[in-house]
Symmetry: C2
């Protein structure tokens, strides 16, 4: 039995027309001899009556409500979606059954904002005895006490990838309203393209980098069982395959950026005490560089004021550089490749773009620059490394 | 432990304001030392997004959808309602838990349009160990195979009455948007009043008579365990108690009418063959009177054309009297009371209102009259028997 998992996001199920397109994808897979698990999110986005946010907005003060009642309420969004989608599948003649996350054996660690801890594939395999398609409610699971639970943001992706791993599926396809993973942000960079193939690691790095592709946790589930992951548009025409092997080609797959950051430089030999204070205030920091008399890091603009107070009270001399942007170049083949750093520095310097700080891991190179230079920097880097496929300046 | 069951209909839960009024009723009961089962319907009516009809309208062709998927979809209406209402109860400081019909041990005979077959009170009693209020989804149960099932129309009333009987509740209150059971149809009769107290039998007869009060099945459940039943407005100010004992006073509690009927007279000695043909065509008939050479009965206007064809084809001579109205006078104390028939006939004859047919059971007297005389007849009968409290014409 060859199983494929297809996940349809909320915006792919909003209208009857879109649900029909989704059903065609399922039909295609069934016609090619596969059993399909169709994971569905709640229909629509905020404002649509059955979207998760809309259900939550029916409550005046969610905080005074027991978690399990809230999970029960939220879970209705996907249950409605699953029943509606199964009816569309029946209309085109497919034998579909419906199963909720709780019934499907998706175990989670708690009731709200839960993470999947274990998946038991038996209930779905049992359904396949009599069904071509099992419609599974995404975003839901079972709490340690057997109650309905709901996952955190991106929960339906996690459901799809976890169930694909548990069923040893041939592939896990995530249908959304975007065309796949892009080589850069199309609102900033000309000539971006869809990345055809990328590695799990690269996709994780892009996700952690703030691009709203797939939740890193979901990718982890697919990787754990080497399930090929695909994300793309509802018509199936364009998308990105995420597998163990990255694409051949240049060292850089994608250029992304996070704006509205503040670079903080604290002049102190007692960096231990600095970080303790920051941690106590639950401020998340990034791009950390420690030197004998100085520590540097970035914080989100929203945390900057709070951080200033802490540093002042503790008596640390500091400098804040506001409106900086953290650009990331991501690509597995960058690792160990000489000349990348040199090329980046030459390219940006030649165009008078200031580099305030850099950092690198084996597959990501980060550059901190002024926010007003960020778009130009992304464009230059994208052109050089991706469009022209160059690897060092001598090829430019 | 004194338990009271309070059922809140869909229109009593549509807005935050109404949900607060409903919560006040629950609070009152808790403050008087009772444990409360709050049975909730889906919020709102057709057009409101979470109403049962609206959920069903998400499906293009419900018939091609497996029953259990449809039940699952429909059940979301009450689940949303229950979670939302429990949050309102929590906000005013009540300890409420939520339980679905399936979890609550409400067994039904099938998946859709089901009837309740058995109720196990244990799951709710268990909840009361830690909760003041158990919010129970109405209209839902568990199919013989353990699936979610949904009841027929008026299902939440049935849930409330059945659970009240199983828990041996002190009372079962059905809060709706009407003020109670009326002595007649206020759109036809002046000076109707709310009936304060009525017997289970009388309420059943009124319900069977087409007045949309409470489903007869629901009343049966309350009667089975002698649970006093109350129906009335959300503010609790006006309503009707339905118990074993009827009200003291006149013999008639309520005047109702069903319009758009056709009286059929078939001249045949072979009444067996007439009824067999009618039954085969699945036409429902009423007010049946059999005489040696003639059978009379009424049918709904919608079935008249079909019936004509059947009678013609079978070669039975017939007469159709269109636009007749069937008035019912309902009251338990009418049984065995001499002079009622005489009073009715005198009263209507004196006012030139034609009586085409009558029938009577121990607590209902039916009169078939022309539809254009129906309002006047109802008004006269209501005035004579209810407003002036008379029993025979000599008192008039």
């Amino acid at each position: 039995m060859t199983i494929i998992v297809q996940k349809f996001g909320g915006t792919s199920l909003t209208t009857a027309e879109k649900r029909n397109l989704a059903a065609i994808q399922v039909e295609k897979a069934v016609k090619s001899g596969k059993k399909v698990v169709a994971v569905v999110s709640a229909m629509g986005r905020h404002g649509d009556p059955y979207a998760t946010d809309s259900l939550l907005s029916l409550i005046d003060s969610p905080d005074s409500m027991p978690d399990q009642h809230q999970a029960l309420l939220l879970s209705c969004g996907e249950t409605i979606s699953a029943a509606v989608f199964s009816s569309v599948l029946h209309e085109i003649g497919l034998k579909a059954s419906v199963i909720t996350g709780r019934e499907a054996g998706i175990h989670t660690d708690r009731v709200l904002n839960a993470s999947i801890t274990k998946v038991n594939p038996e209930p779905i395999l049992k359904e396949f005895a009599s069904s071509q398609v099992v419609v599974l409610t995404g975003f839901q699971g079972m709490s340690p006490f057997g109650e309905v639970s709901t996952l955190g943001r991106g929960g339906s992706d996690a459901t799809a990838c976890a169930i694909a791993a548990a069923l040893d599926a041939e592939a896990c396809q995530l249908f959304t309203d975007v065309e796949g993973i892009m080589s850069g942000d199309p609102s900033v960079i000309y000539n971006t393209s869809i990345v055809d193939r990328i590695s799990y690691d690269e996709a994780c790095h892009i996700a952690y980098q703030g691009a709203k592709v797939i939740h890193p946790k979901a990718i982890e589930w697919a990787r754990s069982n080497k399930v090929p992951l695909w994300t793309g548009a509802l018509d199936g025409e364009s998308g990105t395959w995420i597998t163990e092997r990255h694409q051949n080609g240049g060292p850089i797959q994608s250029v992304t950026a996070v704006n509205h950051l503040v670079q903080v430089i604290v002049n102190s030999q007692d960096c231990d005490r600095v970080f303790t204070r920051v941690a106590q205030a639950e401020i998340s920091i990034d791009l950390i560089s420690i030197q004998p008399n100085e520590v540097k890091f970035t914080v989100d603009k929203a945390d900057a004021f709070k951080l200033k107070e802490i540093l002042l009270r503790a008596g640390f001399p500091y400098t804040f550089k506001e409106n900086v942007s953290k650009i990331a170049l991501i690509g597995e083949r960058m690792a160990g490749k000489p000349g990348i750093t040199s090329s980046i520095v030459s390219l940006l310097t030649k165009h008078d773009i200031k580099i305030w700080q850099t950092a690198d891991s084996h597959m990501t190179f980060w550059i901190l620059t002024d926010q007003h230079s960020s778009a130009a920097a992304q464009q230059l880097l994208h052109y050089f490394f991706i469009e022209s496929g160059a690897e060092d300046l001598s090829n430019a």
